[in-house]
């Protein structure tokens, strides 16, 4: 399947037809997309800033309990993002900022998986008063920078040819 076939397929799905036919669908998805990004960034601000050494009155173990909120926010954004794409797959596919944003999301995803696999167990098991190592801090800083760039790229999509 070529990329053009994929765009055609996404455009012609029931979801694509629904998004174009129902007047309120796009605006509802946009609203949910914004709420999802607030949930994601809110949770990550607590988790990543704590790993970086701020707000030491919160234990790292306690901060990590917010990971499900970040995942829920990401899930909302993934579902609504698929809805946006299906509504106008050709324009999204040809928008360089959309490609850039998706690249950033993939990098942020790899970063999150690395955090989960390589850092989480060590972070949760840290004795009281011991701060995370440099690798964990680098992963936390990367997470914040990547998601801030994702939000920025998302807001710049219309500038490169499409609403969203």
């Amino acid at each position: 399947m070529s990329i053009a076939h994929f765009y055609h397929w996404a455009h012609d799905t029931d979801l694509g037809h629904f998004m174009r036919a129902v007047s309120w669908a796009f605006s509802v998805c946009e609203t949910l997309h914004f709420i999802g990004l607030c949930m994601l960034l809110g949770a990550l601000l607590v988790i990543d800033l704590r790993i970086l050494g701020f707000y030491r009155q919160i234990s790292i173990n306690a901060a990590m309990k917010l990971i499900p909120l970040a995942i829920a926010g990401f899930a909302i954004n993934l579902v609504t993002g698929i809805c946006f794409f299906a509504s106008d797959s050709f324009n999204y596919g040809q928008n360089p900022m959309f490609i850039f944003k998706m690249g950033l999301v993939v990098l942020a995803g790899i970063n999150a998986i690395y955090h989960e696999v390589a850092c989480k167990a060590g972070l949760c098991g840290l004795p009281k008063g011991v701060e995370p190592d440099r690798t964990a801090k680098f992963v936390a800083a990367s997470s914040l920078v990547l998601w801030i760039l994702v939000i920025t790229a998302g807001r710049l999509l219309p500038q490169f040819g499409i609403e969203g």
Binding site: C38, M39, L41, L45, K65
Partner: protein, 164 residues
């Protein structure tokens, strides 16, 4: 209307409307500020209203509220410039008026909520000490800020151009 017309005709308003990057960059700051303020407020309010995650004491959010304050300032400053660039149309738009009212209510609500949290004893089981009024304030805070996001997204769908 004369004041709105003056705001619309200022040099900065012209620059925001006519430059390639003025409006999109302001939108980026507006979105990042919103994500920071609503994100942190959501995490604190969820913690207070629903007791999750129980391992984070609500009182330990004082440092994170500074992040929310910076987010709000970024949101406010970019919002003022965005408003100036389209003051007559926005001023008469009911979703914009609703958004401003909800932000004001959300601001008052988070101040009241934080005062209540500060007056809650942290020791001896903080959750038992959180009163019903405090939980109600947290739920209202969530409602006001999510309402502001909803209203903000619908401005673009309801805005009618008003000539000056």
């Amino acid at each position: 209307m004369a004041l709105l017309a003056w705001l619309y005709e200022t040099e900065i308003s012209h620059w925001i409307r006519e430059s390639v990057w003025g409006h999109p960059m302001l939108l980026c700051f507006h979105a990042l500020g919103m994500a920071a303020v609503v994100g942190v407020v959501l995490v604190l309010s969820i913690r207070v209203a629903f007791g999750w995650p129980g391992s984070i004491a609500p009182q330990s959010f004082s440092g994170l509220l500074r992040v929310a304050r910076w987010g709000f300032l970024a949101n406010l400053a970019s919002g003022v410039f965005l408003y100036m660039s389209n003051a007559p149309s926005l001023s008469l738009n009911w979703t914009f008026q609703s958004k401003i009212a909800l932000i004001a209510a959300g601001g008052i609500s988070i101040l009241v909520l934080w005062r209540m949290v500060e007056n809650t004893p942290a020791s001896g089981g903080p959750d038992q000490a959180i009163t019903v009024q405090t939980r109600v304030a947290a739920v209202l805070t969530i409602g006001f800020w999510l309402g502001a996001i909803v209203a903000g997204r619908y401005i673009a769908y309801t805005l009618k151009h008003v000539s000056v």
